[in-house]
Symmetry: D3
Subunit: 274 residues, 6 copies
């Protein structure tokens, strides 16, 4: 069960409107690696955790925080859209390149659909969807998803920082940078705890005789040029075994021949003799 | 530029048809973490790499290998669909529960749309899409995406292994398990090389004064109950600093008040005095 | 900013596992009118409200409640998936129709992808997306969206109630039925307050001379048969004007003729003389 | 069965080309609340209506009208795209801000993909999809969906009206405004007829003992601050009962504990003692 | 402008309910190549046609017919869903395999969401979307899209015919088979008329010196094995020139080297000397 | 199994950066008819081919070539994005219309998400998805899909050619034009071989008595105006039979009446007497 205070976790007030920046900030709200993704990813992982309460708590701690981040960014976007030039008389782009750029560049849905509000979409208007997230039931796998999400997220925030010189926007982005630093570090720490117990390969409990073991430490050189050789040659993998490099990968199996489909499928008539 | 041999990288031949297993295997072909995702993710990352040829080569090596994995699984699915019971006379589910289960459970598109062939979709029929992958231009971020993808992928393969006792299917899954082991290890190794040079937090080159530094090492306890405290208390983060824990997070900013939209947006009339 | 208690708003405990019901409950979690939709719809509407704090507060009250409903349903689904028959030896559907029905009918991603957890998807596995919701900046329009959402939602819950006889599942559904009753009533009340002030047609402030007034009270009979006539004939509309009925709608405008595209588009050569 | 006359229901001829307005008009053609949505929503509702022929007729009347609205808007868009500046020599944006704004702002697919024609997509290019509509089998629920759709639709048309001063475009928008007025009024009238018979809460026929009755008239204050209290305090709901307000919502259920998954799922090892 | 008669173009009445067949028929209603696709494809092509009125008329003739086909299939689906076993007491799948198969196999949304009605989705529940269709402004290109659509459509109908022995369903499918025959033939005829005038390659008016002419008649053997050689060797293409076959394709261009991104993108540090 | 050489099949080097052209080129990479579509379409068709090895080989030959085309276009896009103006100081659009146009017009994800790299999306940012392709198991149907795809593809490339005067970009587009010429010709040739054997209508093996034969050669005049009559009148169809034209199509079936749904669906109460 959740409760809400209307106070924001951090300041989200621009010094002036900027509809183009509003459009770009949608990426970290409703994009593949925006706050909606981390919020839902952590909450679903938390709700689905079985028998590991301290991990569950940490996931729910940070998932709950992320709802507040969505709130901050949505609030920022709404204010960046103030005074967006949507009237026809402002269509005077023939003489004013500044207005022209905004007319051409702002997201038309911010005015037509959302009345100067944010939406759960990315910077090109593609709606957020549930296949952006993963909750697998395996904590190490999921913590790796989280480390990745926070790395992509902080990278995007750092790029957005360059795209504005508004001190209010930068202040909020600076807060997000800091929280993404912490979130990277905490998921790395949590993952390490599991790796120390279960080893580096996910999932750790696959019976050894299931794997085709002779190929589980080879880097195959499928792209001509052996620049990648130095990445593994003479090195030990994180599980302690030596890597191998195969310059000319060989196919294990013959060309497959499929038998014709039955007539009720109305596939093409097979012309080959079989 | 690519070339193809019709030989398969590994055996992909079931001992008998099984349309339900065909449906399930679609997950590791065209699902969020299926082979289409890793293939496209590694190739796009490789093509977009700038100034790091040995990483580029490794990404293209493995991305190219993954095209061959799609081929193996597609071939397996086509053969598992042999003799699927699609005719009306086989609709005799009133008396034969085995046929009934297959009739109800197989993916109808495998017959109606694909004529007993595989499709670029997941196990519930949702088509693969380009937002499953990431190619960010930052190698460490992307290698973390890759470590995650191979962890989720190997986890799914291990679960599918339990769902069949067909030795042919299991043999192919055993090969994929082994390759996913290697792929996890190689991306971990590659990530470590960058971490050793650039540090643990992505991206490493954000100016220190951009971050709101006082919050970049705190775990906020937004979910009541302090089980998560032990995850960080007294521990050093991977970047060497100490973690902090804040039991009762405090909001930095006041409740935001948005000013009314201009009349041309036809938003609701504001009733509050401002 | 949000906080979380791990206590659930209401009980969410089935008396026994049921993977088929788990699949069906996904509809009210991540479907078009599931809890993810109402949660996001109310929160975005609340964050985007300008100058109407009591409406904003009500939207955020109920939007926050809905996060807790997602939590309840996700928790229920996780427990309904306990003991799902995913192993090959349980594939013995040839002799046991009960297991057969579950094998064929359960959502394979619940096992393969989510490890017996819920996901932000609907009952056929289509992921939730941001275009399910609306936040328009016009409160009356949005309250009507909310009335609709709660009507569809309560309808779906009532149908699901028939599909189970598990007292635990029914208890939770009974709670959702009650909350959806209240939510319908509260949005109806809130809409009435605005209608009383601004009138029935959204938006109320369109200049009268913009409309082609002669057609704004006619029901056109475009489908042969005049059964619909009695719906409007002799009745006054909610805005006080009389409805009209036009049995044989007439076109206002001539057939349009488009001029050929310029050659640089490589459209078809126009063959008509113009 | 349908027939078509090439005459348009109303005039759809701009006085001059305007590729930016063409892009924006896509919203009311193929957006979430565009004409494709109302057309499909009303037709599917009509086709699925069981035992209420006058409602069915009205739905099919208006659904059929909406196909003609798609036609009008598509025709308008095609003409607004005349003379779109797509050639390289027109790329002279370095000196002409008017052309620059169009080059940057027009939808590139209007030229590359559609050869100056309309497409079933919204103003940012996201394709229309079948999950924008609802046909539930419950007329009151669906009429509420229709009231909402026409409210959102008329709101969007009124916003677009401000974005152009082309008299031809405004004339067509004025016609759509008028029809949306009528459509709002007719669905409100139809809904009232059902509400008068079945009551205000959908669906009306849920057995009273299914609901957890003690919570079906409470507004829970989940968002700190009691501005929303006045929305319900001392008021009667539309079903005649009094509303209640709960300042501090209490959780009914304890924190849930999920039991560990079986080993064949390869979830994380549970570390908690249970 | 369109008008509607409630009479169906052809009979659409099953002799008995069959919820599994209802699910499968969704494929030809709202699937990639269902009636919604051909309806929208032909109507948009017709509306966008410039200067070729007889083609435009033909497209609108058949596009309008297809709306009636959607209506027939939707009506059929609604009746196949009569008496679907949705109540819990019908969940008695432990003893009745027939009900078990239907419970497991029917589309749950047909009951939960649509109240026994059809929806604009395919046989696995994926919603129809606007990117299934093409309207390019080039008639020959689009007629080829139409020939393809009718070929896939008729193929799917013929497969569905095998999946039922209900004479009513088969009667309707037999009508659709016949219409798809005609539609294939009419688009082939129309395409031939344009090919006779403009030649076989689309678009016909690309200046000859734009093409890299030395490669426009070669089949490259990128997949090892020369079985494809006989497809072209010694044959003349439809444009009169001879085909060529190249057994060992050679790359024209060197390995590309991308220059590093500027620091403001926070890409990886380039380690290669350039 | 596939192998890769880093050499490009053809040159892909622009003479100068152009972020707007980068955005537009995404259409032929990840759009509905971009290279990702033809690559996947041909490979899946090849892998699913049963008993026709020379067709299978040809599909795999060209499918493999198309991976190399994706590589060329991705490489071109990465270089067109060099020096994209993403920094705030470059936001000087108030005075420089050239920069303004680029700021407004470039795809923001190219900077924020991809760090100046290509992505599997189209020119408006919609991700590629698996429902763009078809692999039906019927070769003639699929070859028609391929003829269409190459026609749409070459049309789009020819339009893009006009949008740039960069000789490097034009050189690559000229190569693609040539290859699309060949691919159109080769699929036409392959389709003819099957048509010669199986006839023109797909699928050829539907029993004659399944079709409602009296309607399989009629063009119905559903759109008022008989311009289309000359398309068929007095002409023989490709299968040798005469076309017919019906000026006033007549409905075969009466208006359908659906029986009410059972109470457990909570549909509207039927008000009609039945």
């Amino acid at each position: 069960m959740f409760t809400h205070t209307k106070k924001l976790q951090y300041h989200a007030k621009p010094s002036k409107p900027d509809p183009l920046m509003a459009k770009k900030l949608q990426e970290i709200l409703g994009g593949q690696y925006g706050e909606m993704s981390v919020m839902n990813q952590y909450l679903f992982q938390g709700w689905n955790t079985r028998g590991n309460e301290k991990f569950k708590d940490m996931l729910l701690d940070t998932g709950t925080e992320e709802i507040g981040h969505i709130e901050m960014i949505a609030t920022m976007i709404a204010q960046l859209l103030d005074d967006a030039p949507v009237d026809a008389q402002e269509n005077a782009y023939k003489s004013d390149p500044a207005v022209a750029a905004i007319m051409g560049g702002m997201n038309p849905q911010h005015a037509i659909v959302n009345g100067l509000g944010a939406a759960p979409k990315d910077s090109v208007g593609v709606p957020w969807n549930g296949n952006y997230i993963i909750s697998s039931g395996n904590l190490l796998a999921d913590l790796r998803a989280n480390i990745n999400a926070e790395s992509q997220g902080r990278l995007q925030v750092s790029r957005l920082y360059h795209m504005t010189d508004d001190p209010g926007v930068r202040d909020m982005l600076g807060f997000l940078l800091a929280r993404d630093t912490m979130h990277q570090l905490q998921w790395i720490e949590a993952a390490k705890e599991i790796e120390d117990r279960e080893g580096i390969v996910v999932p750790y409990d696959v019976p050894a005789d299931w794997e085709v073991k002779e190929v589980n430490n080879i880097l195959y050189n499928f792209s001509e040029g052996e620049e990648s050789k130095s990445m593994v040659e003479g090195k030990k993998a994180a599980d302690g075994r030596e890597f191998r490099y195969e310059s000319t990968p060989v196919a294990f199996a013959d060309k497959p021949i499929l038998k014709p489909a039955p007539p009720s499928l109305h596939n093409s008539t097979p012309m080959d003799k079989m």
